[in-house]
Amino acid sequence: MFTEYSVLENKLFQIIDDNGKVVNPSYMPSLSDSEVLKVYKQMLFARTADLQTVSYQRQGRIFTYPPNYGQEAISAAVGLRIRENDWLVPAFREMGAMLSKGVTLKELFMYFMGYEDGSAFKGANRVLPISVPIASQLVHASGIGYAINQTKEDSIVYAFVGDGGTSEGDFHEAINFAGVWKVPVIFIIQNNQYGISTPTRMQTASESLAIKAVAYGVKGIKVDGNDLFAMIKAIDESIEVCKKGEGPVLIEAITYRKGAHTTSDDPTKYRTKEEEMKWDKKDPMKRLMAYLQERGLWSTNEEEAILPQYKEEVDRQFIEAENYGPYPNEDVFKYMYSQMPDDLKDQLNEYERFLKWKESKLSNKK
């Protein structure tokens, strides 16, 4: 696959077309009908949760939120293949993969409400917290990969970054290091066409993002990220590469962010309706739905019947997060060291004095 779809020739790896027809059967991963349906339902749940989260934000009930809308297939493919002992290193637009790994929606909601406990992931093994500083997580991923090589564990790291993140120094450092030490990391670039408002053509002078793999001496591939099957196949082959000790792999997943960058962003200011309509035809769920319908595995009636249950479940977890209780002040300072050093203790004390001062100012105002 890596030879046939050479990044030097800028080829795009695809298995189904925009209408859900299999156009590349030789690469079709072997999945049972029920497995495909299960993944579709997970994507549907993630999309439902995502849309509702934007609504909660508009209700003033959570802080800023970065929507996943339109990018669900990438997370779903990773979610299908990632194992208990594998590591997930997310950026901040990988809700589906995090849910598959055992993170709960309640925890994600708590994160966006500002709770440190929202990053504790009590039921999920080996998931790093959401990473807002762009591309910084990739360095951690390479480090974890290096540790895996030392311990000789059977484990693989799945690390995410956006197209904008590829312009960061950390991207270079992480992949360069990973290539030198042949660490088992699958780097996945979610190329959703925009880094906030910067289009990909302004992000790099390279022909693609995947071609950067060549410079680092690692395997790379450009995949249709809105094609679930192509994503699964690309990951399967990348797993093989890592298992042989020939890692890492760089996957550029071509997708489109149908929503805003975050809830503070207005994409109509930098992209046209025509462009959005063009990408609507490539929507990952629409394509998978066509595939399922063709085989009589799923119908719009069944979907309409299940959606209210999904919505209710999302609301239920959200209200649980909302009722989590007050935010403990020391949480801001608590988690960097196992024992809080003196300077952090000073800061905590100062913060508490400040809160008292603020309180007195507020009561004076009244």
């Binding site: 934000q57 909302e322 004095r353």
Partner: protein, 420 residues
């Protein structure tokens, strides 16, 4: 149980928003997630969904009014009382995902330095003022030296309000004429001060931007349209039966789209910084509409590919939407050329202001009868006055004249619109 829903900060440091449209009425039942109202803010135009199941007990503010963050938007009667727990909107103090973290106008936020915990000497004047980006931009716009403004924000930061106060306080030097005029009016009751709507602010900004940046030049012409009038009369009725209003404007749009294909500099824009001119190979014609709240310019997309009937149908549709105040930002995006038909209300010639950064705008005056000389005979002609403003930086006089000749030719001989 009554729940008061306050307008939340939905965009990291917003201060206010303008009501664009209400989606609920008093007494109406709503479910959590149902849209209550569409608000326009500095960041986005978006529907605000209900946070509760219940019945709308009160609504605050009319369309066009400004609502401050934290002010009541609606009151909802909800069923259970325990739902009130933990449901007050949360206060945001600068959370962000790769966005701005600075918070404007809140004097309760700890400043970065240690002095934040001690009482801050707000009156101290700094050499280089600390200020929020909003305040900095505002000062620049109003031509105020921000370093001479006393900050009242956290750590002595200059806030938007400080700039506003400073501006109104020093406006004698900024705008002496206006100040004098106002001071002469002793009786305050004889004037009315009205807050500008968002749309009025946008119009003002765009007009000034156009006049500052484009080199306006206008040419006037008279198109003889007797043939066109006959054709319109012939088809008006059958179009109306299909709910389409056949106006002269539909023909003008078609003529303009065709003429632009031959004279592409009028369908371009200049990028001074890049030192380039962007020629557009699509023809999206904006139509200036006198909507109830003010001037708006919805766009007819790819007008060159549409028939006159399709154009007429779109004009009917966008006018309807504009009257009902339902025009969305999307409807007004991506125009490449604009037509303003003030003549349908009145006026023969005008000097239209270019819809910047477009290169040209065509004004259509009132159609009237006038004696004209044809083959040495005086006959009665039907005249459509045309006023074409171009950005003279892009379009030279010759090209401008050739374009208007081309448009006139099509209008004078409408059959050529189809044959050509």
């Amino acid at each position: 149980m009554r729940y008061i829903f306050k307008f939340p900060d939905i965009g990291e440091g917003l201060e206010e928003g303008t009501i664009v449209e209400w989606h609920v009425e008093k007494g109406q039942s709503v479910k959590m997630g149902d849209p209550l109202v569409t608000m326009e803010t500095d960041k986005v135009v978006t529907a605000i969904p209900s946070p509760k199941n219940g019945v709308i007990a009160a609504k605050y503010g009319k369309v066009g009014e400004i609502i401050h963050v934290g002010s009541a938007l609606v009151e909802i009667d909800i069923e259970s009382s325990e739902e009130m727990e933990n449901t007050q909107p949360v206060e945001e103090e600068g959370a962000g995902v790769v966005g701005t973290l600075e918070v404007a106008g809140n004097d309760l936020i700890l400043s970065a330095s240690k002095e934040g915990v001690a009482p801050v000497d707000n009156q101290r004047k700094r050499e280089k003022a600390l200020a929020t980006p909003v305040a900095r931009a505002m000062a620049k716009e109003l031509n105020i030296d921000i370093n001479s403004v006393v900050g009242t924000g956290a750590g002595g930061r200059v806030t938007k309000e400080d700039i506003q106060k400073f501006f109104s306080g020093s406006s004698t030097t900024q705008a002496p004429a206006i100040q004098k005029e106002e001071s002469r009016i002793d009786n305050r009751e004889r004037i009315e001060v009205v807050q500008m709507s968002q749309i009025r602010k946008t119009i003002a900004k765009n007009m000034i931007m156009s006049k500052h940046n484009a080199a306006h030049m206008t040419v006037f012409e008279e198109a003889e349209i007797s043939e066109l009038i006959k054709i319109r009369e012939r088809y008006k009725k059958s179009f109306a039966d299909e709910g389409i209003k056949l106006t002269y404007l539909a023909f003008v749009v078609k003529a303009v789209a065709k003429a632009l294909k031959k004279h592409r500099s009028l369908n371009s824009q200049m990028d001074m910084e890049a030192g380039s001119i962007i020629y557009k190979n699509y023809y999206n014609i904006g139509i200036a509409i006198d909507a109830p709240k003010g001037l708006i310019v919805p766009v007819i997309r790819d007008a060159d590919t549409l028939s006159i009937k399709e154009i007429a149908s779109e004009i009917t549709e966008i006018s309807q939407k504009a009257r009902e105040g339902k025009t969305s930002l999307d409807d007004m995006k991506d125009g490449t050329f604009t037509i303003t038909s003030y003549g349908s209300i009145g006026g023969l010639f005008a000097v239209p202001v270019i819809n910047y950064p477009q290169a040209a705008i065509l004004g259509i005056g009132r159609v009237f009868e006038k004696p004209i000389v044809q083959n040495s005979n005086i006959t009665i002609g039907n005249i459509m006055p045309l006023s074409l403003s171009v950005d003279h930086r892009i379009a030279d006089g010759g090209e401008t004249a050739r374009f208007i000749n081309c448009v006139m030719g099509y209008l004078n001989d409408p059959v050529s619109l189809i044959l050509d």
